[in-house]
């Protein structure tokens, strides 16, 4: 079976856009198989008119997947026992039916990312202040390397934090 890679811009920013794209791909006969690094793996099959929904849930039990299945949402794939994608027919009802619970969908991710970004941010400032002193060239090289890694980490937690927070606020404004 032929496979295809579809890249992701990050679920914190492009969840809806990418779910719609997966639906267009399914209509062309390319179906979501699983998550891949920074994207998705698609596998070739018959064209289908379906909808995809994504949910965040840390270590859900069997009941979770049962509820989705009996509401017409078939579990497709998960990553890290935390992010789950479901596939439903066109007439399947939305997986969130009220504002209060929809808002909570992003709450845990927002908190996790926020906490990580905060720690990395403090680390970044601490490292930055170390550059005020004179260091042997070896130490300074290591410091620059570490600072670079922390900066990357800060971007990949800080931006998702802002993304999730924005999504949550947008939902609560609709309520």
């Amino acid at each position: 079976m032929r496979q295809k890679y579809m890249s992701s811009w990050g679920l914190a920013f492009a969840e809806e856009r990418e779910m719609r794209k997966l639906e267009r791909m399914a209509a062309k006969g390319w179906h979501l198989k699983q998550f891949a690094p920074l994207g998705y793996t698609l596998v070739e099959g018959e064209p289908e008119d379906v909808q995809y929904s994504l949910d965040y849930r840390t270590r859900p039990d069997e009941d979770y997947f049962d509820l989705f299945a009996s509401s017409g949402w078939q579990h497709v794939t998960s990553t890290g026992d935390e992010i789950h994608i479901f596939k439903g027919n066109r007439d399947a009802k939305p997986i969130y039916s009220d504002v209060e619970t929809a808002e909570e969908k992003y709450h845990d991710m927002e908190r996790q990312m926020g906490r990580a970004a905060l720690i990395l941010g403090i680390l970044w400032i601490a490292l930055f202040s170390l550059f005020q002193f004179e260091w042997p060239i070896v130490v300074e090289t290591i410091l620059i390397g570490v600072q670079l890694l922390v900066t990357i980490g800060l971007v990949f937690t800080g931006l998702p934090y802002i993304g999730y927070r924005f999504k949550r606020k947008r939902i609560s404004r609709q309520g």
Binding site: D66, L67, F68, S70, P94, S97, T101, H107
Partner: protein
């Protein structure tokens, strides 16, 4: 959870209200969803993600409890605390409706 939600204020969301009503008789999750759809004549349809979130919340707040089931599907039922919160919420909603009726009738009679 750091932020206050309506449950901590002693108020039930509309979905929680109907789910608690459904659990005055022991039921498992999917039957609760069907029951709510039936008694509201399709006005309210609870999605699976909302349902799971609310079940966990009501369990944490001890407003419902799991039953010792035989099958693999978990059954839940309302607790004494859940029933008292539900009754209070019914009264609160009733008072709201009465307030509204009084005002709307007044305007209508003018």
């Amino acid at each position: 959870m750091p932020r206050t939600d309506s449950l901590e204020l002693g108020e039930l969301t509309d979905s929680m209200f109907y789910i608690l009503l459904a659990l005055t008789t022991p039921r498992h999750g999917y039957l609760v969803m069907q029951f709510v759809e039936e008694i509201t004549r399709g006005r309210m349809q609870i999605g699976p993600a909302s349902m799971y979130t609310i079940i966990k919340k009501l369990l944490n707040a001890e407003l419902i409890e799991p039953m010792d089931g035989d099958g693999k599907k978990k059954n839940y039922q309302i607790t004494r605390k859940g029933r008292s919160i539900l009754t209070d919420d019914v009264k609160r909603r009733q008072a709201m409706v009465e307030d509204a009726c009084a005002i709307l009738d007044m305007e209508g009679s003018r």
